[in-house]
């Protein structure tokens, strides 16, 4: 025990020499604030280092590796699957000081940024050239590009524009041995294995990203946002299918059910009718004429499903108000119950009506209300199981209901996670989707990258524990009221 402590002191001193004393955090009372991310899981790292440059990051990785401690890369800590939680201790490498936008190149429409740059700041910097960065996770005002790369983040507008991996041309990385390399670059094609594509979405387990080349898009000339209100959620689902079947891929199709509306409308005043069974928010963007033609078609399809009301945002203010409702839903769920468990899974979009019906059954079965918020256009479900953790039975039922929903997703031909990642949260569910051979194939990436057991160990792969009853219950005992995300 003493030897370990002496060792840690040595590591602290070495890291301090690299990044400066102020940027090595090792007092236990300070480490408390690095035990969480946006998810429910918690664990204290042994220390935190905050490098200011690639060179510092590389030296930190080298030193920590030499001492045999694991490294957990961390951006803003907004992740929802425990990706930045140092479950096995070790050193958290927080990249929040590396937040320079190195370059916006309007000629080639790329941005070169450090990993700590906040998602929304890229678009802000690109705006003067009429460009923007398309992936827009809900946490975009806080989450970092490095974290987006690690999780292959999506967002409402990914329906038309794709997720992070479709927008990263190249990146500079530090491998587990501290060496620095470029994967991909500024060109759109690079021969050789697509290591860039492998590292994106690898949840920090293969390499530490220190610079990213992002593809920027031209801001759409025109945007139209339409709200369609339905008495029954089935009509809303049918409208979604109708839109896709008509060969229209809008920028976003978001759906909120009755419970969501009841939670958010009093809080945000978005103008969603309180008595509605579901609202659809459809956004079409692009060339003015295309937007006019497509939004007319979208409106026609929405009308054919017998809506209570259809409204098009007349101006930017009204558009913002409609979106404020969508963005405010999760925060407002607290009005309906003390806690919610937000589930993330994807199903084929044609299975939407059955899946929602089945979620209704699960809600009945477990005697807990479930509020459905969906990126309906791409089948990405976010059902939130509402419960009160002070009742241990309710907590167990909520966790079990969440598990049922994930099974439902997989059984419908869908997947465990659409955009939050596996991390700690869902690793025990991985066998629902993948057999041992599949998982073994994935597990060989670690040795190939030389990162096995060193970079973010313990994530993604199942440990064999019973997730439902062990981890969540333990976490809940500490987490208190609010969200179980």
């Amino acid at each position: 025990m003493t030897a370990v402590i002496a060792d840690l002191r040595e590591v602290v001193a070495e890291l301090q020499a690299i990044v400066g004393a102020a940027y090595v955090i090792h007092r236990p009372e300070d480490l408390i604030v690095f035990e969480y991310d946006g998810s429910v899981d918690k664990a204290m790292p042994q220390m935190v280092a905050l490098p200011a440059s690639t060179e510092e990051a590389s030296r930190v990785v080298e030193v920590v590796g030499r001492h045999g401690l694991p490294i957990v890369a961390r951006g803003a800590g907004t992740g929802l699957s425990g990706g930045a939680v140092a479950e096995e201790g070790g050193v958290v490498l927080a990249l929040t000081r590396m937040k320079r936008i190195i370059e916006i190149d309007p000629e080639d429409q790329v941005a070169v940024v450090e990993p700590g740059v906040v998602n929304v700041d890229v678009s802000a910097a690109a705006a003067e050239y009429g460009l923007y960065y398309a992936p827009d996770p809900s946490s975009q005002s806080a989450c970092t590009i490095g974290g987006n790369v690690a999780e292959n983040s999506g967002g409402p507008h990914c329906l038309a524009y794709g997720v992070t991996t479709n927008h990263v041309l190249g990146m500079e990385v530090v491998l587990a041995d501290g060496s620095v390399h470029w994967l991909g670059g500024r060109t759109r094609e690079t021969p050789g294995y697509d290591l860039r594509g492998i590292v994106i979405g690898s949840e920090g387990s293969l390499a530490i990203v220190t610079k990213v080349v992002l593809r920027l898009l031209r801001q759409p000339e025109s945007v139209r946002t339409l709200l369609a209100v339905y008495r029954e959620i089935d009509d809303a689902s049918a409208a979604v299918s109708g839109i896709i079947a008509a060969g229209i891929v809008p920028a976003a199709i978001e759906m909120m059910d009755r419970l969501c509306i009841q939670a958010v409308e009093p809080a945000v005043n978005a103008g969603y009718p309180m008595g509605a069974g579901a609202v659809l928010l459809v956004e079409v963007d692009g060339l003015r004429e295309a937007v006019e033609e497509e939004s007319a078609e979208v409106e026609r399809i929405c009308r054919s499903r017998g809506p209570m009301e259809i409204r098009t945002a007349a101006d930017a203010g009204e558009r913002a108000r409609l979106w404020a409702g969508r963005k405010g839903v999760l925060g407002a769920l607290g009005r309906l119950a003390p806690n919610y468990y937000l589930v993330d899974g994807t199903i084929p979009r044609t299975k939407l009506p059955e899946a929602l019906a089945r979620i209704g059954d699960i809600s009945d079965e477990y005697r807990l209300p479930i509020a459905n918020l969906l990126h309906a256009g791409d089948g990405n479900l976010h059902p939130s199981v509402l419960f009160d953790e002070r009742d241990p039975d309710e907590l167990d039922r909520a966790m079990a209901a969440g598990g049922e929903i994930l099974k439902l997703c997989v059984d419908s031909g869908g997947v465990l996670s659409g955009e939050h990642g596996i991390g700690l949260e869902k690793r025990e569910y991985m066998p629902l989707m993948f057999d041992d051979d599949d998982l073994n194939a994935m597990a060989r990436l670690g040795p190939a990258f030389g990162s096995e057991g060193m970079l973010n160990p313990g994530k993604i792969f199942p440990t064999g524990a019973d997730r439902t009853h062990v981890s969540h219950s333990r976490a809940a005992a500490k987490a208190g009221a609010g969200a179980y995300i």
Partner: protein, 428 residues
């Protein structure tokens, strides 16, 4: 079922002159598994064969014993139009897949060369596609799930059949563009696109390449959303049936959309082109457009095959300089060069035809072109060359990025080195 081959029957599967002793044409993933187990047990080197349209791409094989003909596993397993997704076996020819999807007004937004022969699996293994990538992105972005048979015969799957998925590693990325060196792609789930409501192709002529590229980049920086924009010289033009005087350049702009949006894109494209000193601009009829785009997709792989075919990449703004540089290189005296480029995507194809050249001369061309590409911040792949010219070089230009990882992947996924040995970057 493994067939033994002789000199004659084996010649059909030869790669860079190496003739295999065995061939297998499995019907499904299990068949692929059996063939690979057969090879694995005997340490036989395997080259997966699609339609063979681009089979010569790559370094000459170190060894080649078994041709794994994938064209037998060619079923469409699922196509749910409402989901805009499909799951197919990798041996399906690209055209056959497109025809089936077209019935539902959908398509897979890729346009690799020779789609009548090329299989989906082959196109994915090569990893590059045609002009449509301007709008629809890389071929790898169309893959949402994959079933791969590993070198030892283990069948593994990754991804899923939905368009948004972050469940586990994005393993399909490992295999797209890997030339079958890490596993054999046998099934693929795909993200489809609705066919544009209408299409139009604007074709412009220029006296010099400068204004042609200026117009192409003008398109890139405008609010227009063309499906494809391809610049090509007079020699390339002849393959599309366009007869121009030497020195002339053409720009083809493929546009899609609903009627009013399409009209506006046509007129604004014309305006951009006219602002760039064009020598004339026209809108092609449907038949003309189809012929032109097919020829441009096939460019470099159509007959007669070139003595030397190069694909070079650079940034969009670096394109004009790279193309000018390679065009004006010395030392290709006896050969005639044809060029087609997708400027916004940063890709240019150079195709030298003519009498067989001394391999030293060809090597010299490659060397100088590679230098120019590097100077433009890009890279270069020799897609076609005579065996003698290929033997002394790495057609991929070596391993870009960390060599330890490239070799580590090969070690982990093909420890015995039986899949396409020696043919990929760094001769892994």
């Amino acid at each position: 079922m493994i067939d033994s081959l002789d000199e004659t029957t084996g010649r059909a599967y030869a790669v860079d002159g190496v003739i295999p002793r065995f061939a297998a044409r499995p019907k499904d993933a299990e068949g692929v598994r059996d063939a690979l187990r057969f090879a694995d047990e005997r340490g036989l080197a395997v080259i997966p064969w699609g339609g063979g349209s681009r089979i010569g791409l790559g370094n000459p094989p170190h060894r080649f014993d078994l041709a794994l003909d994938m064209t037998g596993a060619n079923r469409i397993l699922d196509h749910t139009p409402g989901d805009l997704t499909a799951t197919v076996e990798a041996g399906i020819a690209v055209d056959a897949l497109q025809e089936s999807l077209a019935v539902h007004g959908q398509f897979l937004p890729i346009d690799p060369p020779l789609p009548g022969r090329a299989t989906l699996g082959g196109a994915l293994a090569v990893g590059t596609s045609g002009p449509l990538k301007w709008q629809y992105g890389s071929i790898r972005d169309t893959v949402i799930g994959m079933k791969v048979v590993q070198a030892d015969g283990t069948i593994t799957k990754s991804g899923g059949q939905v368009v948004k998925n972050v469940s586990g590693y994005d393993m399909s990325r490992l295999h797209v563009g890997a030339l079958g060196t890490l596993g054999v792609i046998t099934e693929v789930s795909l993200k489809l696109a609705p066919r544009p409501a209408g299409e139009a192709t604007v074709l412009a002529r220029f006296d010099r390449p400068g204004p042609c590229f200026a117009a192409a980049l003008g398109m890139f920086r405008s609010p227009l959303m063309p499906l494809a924009v391809t610049a090509f010289d007079a020699r390339a033009g002849r393959r599309t049936g366009i007869v121009d005087p030497p020195g002339a350049w053409r720009l083809a702009v493929r546009l899609g959309g609903r009627p009013r949006a399409l009209d506006r894109q046509v007129s604004e494209s014309r305006a951009i082109i006219e602002g760039a000193a064009t020598a004339g601009v026209e809108v092609l009829d449907a038949g003309g457009a189809e012929t032109a785009w097919r020829a441009l997709s096939d460019f470099g792989w159509d007959e007669p095959r070139p003595i030397l075919g190069i694909r070079a990449n650079a940034t969009p703004s670096g394109m004009p300089q790279l193309v000018e540089g390679i065009k004006n290189m010395n030392g290709a005296g006896g050969l005639s060069l044809a060029i087609a480029a997708h400027p916004a995507h940063g890709t240019a194809l150079f195709s030298w035809t003519g009498e067989d050249q001394a391999s030293d001369d060809v090597a010299g061309i490659i060397d100088r072109a590679r230098g120019l590409a590097a100077r433009a911040g890009g890279c270069l792949v020799v897609e076609q060359a005579a065996l003698a010219a290929k033997s002394g070089i790495d057609v991929w230009g070596g391993i870009a990025g960390p060599e330890s990882v490239a070799r580590g992947l090969k070690r982990e996924y093909d420890p015995k080195g039986i899949l396409n040995p020696g043919r990929f970057a760094g001769r892994v």
